[in-house]
Amino acid sequence: MSAPLLRTEGLAKSFTLHLQKGTRIPVLRDIDLTLTAGECVVLSGPSGTGKSTLMRSLYGNYRAEGGRILARHRGDWVDLAGADPRLVLEVRRDTLGYVSQFLRVVPRVSTLEIVAEALTLRGTSHDEAVERARTMLLRLNLPEPLHALPPATFSGGEQQRVNLARGFIGGHPILLLDEPTASLDADNRDAVVALVREAKASGTAILGIVHDTPTRDAIADRLFHLTPLQAAA
């Protein structure tokens, strides 16, 4: 039995829209999810059931409303629900990686530097970080001439691969992947599948939202099903 690295207990989340007369939208309730080292769990359920909301709540991008989000961080369990922002930032730097669907970066910074920064923030020397960033970008089929350019003018698929490079290069023990293959062709999907398998083999716990079936079947060890709450609310 592998060690659990991430666990939620009774996680709940709703949104209150003050600009829409305080409408309250419940999205998640009583979520108990465990993620162990070396496994990949894929969230399933129709659109609008809160898969992305769960992912963002785990990362601290959304504020958990109830329950606990326990992460194994530097050998201790920490509760990320309602944690001090500084602790969340530290956990993100060292323990919890996230590949979002959208690339959000400082304009005019080169692709190579954006990817390398994921390593320099954690103390890797700049030269080594740049070298590893180059290798990772090439693995994801982003040719060298693009490395010096900022990704603003890249296609959707190219931007997504910059995001993937940045997410995988850090080697975080827990990795969240939000539709990592959404705008990729078959070759690039294969490259992502290979990266996920390698990460799993080295003990990374992975939680994903993956809509394309071949990729899901290739990486998922099990599915975690979410059911819509709004009908019941």
């Binding site: 949104f15 209150t16 829209l17 003050h18 600009l19 963002r56 601290g60 991008n61 959304y62 504020r63 201790d76 369990w77 920490v78 509760d79 944690a83 001090d84 922002p85 500084r86 602790l87 969340v88 930032l89 530290e90 959000r104 400082v106 304009p107 005019r108 910074v109 923030l121």
Partner: protein, 262 residues
């Protein structure tokens, strides 16, 4: 169960209050800045954000409340109880202030190198050669070439002036820098370069920053934590991306939803 993060805050605002006539510019503001972090203060014009920056940095006095600064030895100082010479010394060494308008900070009749060197001399540097070498190094950090060192600031563009102000401010490697709309009033292309520069310098030198901006995109890119002000009060505070992507307070929801998408 979460282990405490062991360091002490660098700067703390405790129940700061300041009124201008019937207007409450600061209405019970509490805030904490930790070593090495960037804290953004956002809010619309008149929300009190610049007043807070001025009070925290000792440039204005509160009616009530305290601003507490912890020095490198760990001793706590009430910024407004400090003797004036001590506060001035702090502003010349451990602290820096980046103004929206660089002309407010620079000496326009003194060369670029002189502007940087002045701050080094104020901290005690006396050897001309080493001051000049350090000035060249600081100018290089902000991407101003060494051959401009003897030029007067009035020959510089707006973006270069702002970079020169940053070079001057960071010359002494301060621990804490106050920034008031540092990219305001600049072309977007110049602004992008300056954002990257501020971000990398602050990360590399481990400087703590209090950043006042009305531009929440700037806050998102630079700050780990954010504080949203309205009518002199802090309405919401937390992790920058959480406050901007999942705002809880009605005013923050309005602020975030009012931003134009480029």
């Amino acid at each position: 169960m979460n282990a405490p993060l062991l360091d002490a805050p660098l700067l703390e605002a405790r129940d700061l209050r300041l009124s201008f006539g019937s207007i409450r510019a600061l209405d019970g503001v509490n805030a904490t800045l930790w070593p090495g972090e960037v804290l953004a203060i956002v809010g619309e014009s008149g929300s009190g954000k610049t007043t807070l920056l001025n009070v925290l940095s000792g440039r204005a006095r509160p009616d009530m409340g305290q601003a507490i600064y912890r020095d490198p030895e760990g001793a706590a100082h009430d910024v407004h109880a400090m003797p004036a010479p001590q506060l001035r010394a702090l502003h010349r060494s451990d602290w820096g202030f980046v103004h929206q308008n660089p002309r407010d900070a620079l000496r326009m009749g003194v060369s670029a190198g002189g502007n940087v060197g002045e701050r080094l001399m104020a901290q005690g540097a006396r050897h001309y050669g080493s001051i000049r070498d350090t000035a060249i190094d600081r100018l290089r950090q902000v991407e101003i070439s060494a051959d401009r060192i003897d030029d007067l600031p009035r020959t510089f563009s707006g973006g270069m002036l702002q970079r020169l102000q940053i070079a001057r401010t960071l010359a002494t490697h301060p621990r804490l820098v106050f920034m008031d709309e540092p990219t305001g009033g600049l072309d977007v292309s110049v602004q992008a370069r300056l954002l990257d520069l501020i971000r990398s310098l602050v990360a590399r030198l481990g400087i703590a920053v209090v950043l006042v901006t009305h531009d929440i995109a700037v806050a998102r890119l630079l700050a780990g934590r954010i504080l949203v002000m309205r009518h002199g009060q802090v309405v919401e505070t937390g992790l920058t991306d959480q406050v901007l992507d999942d705002p809880q307070h009605p005013y923050t929801q309005l602020l975030v939803s009012s931003v134009l998408q480029a």
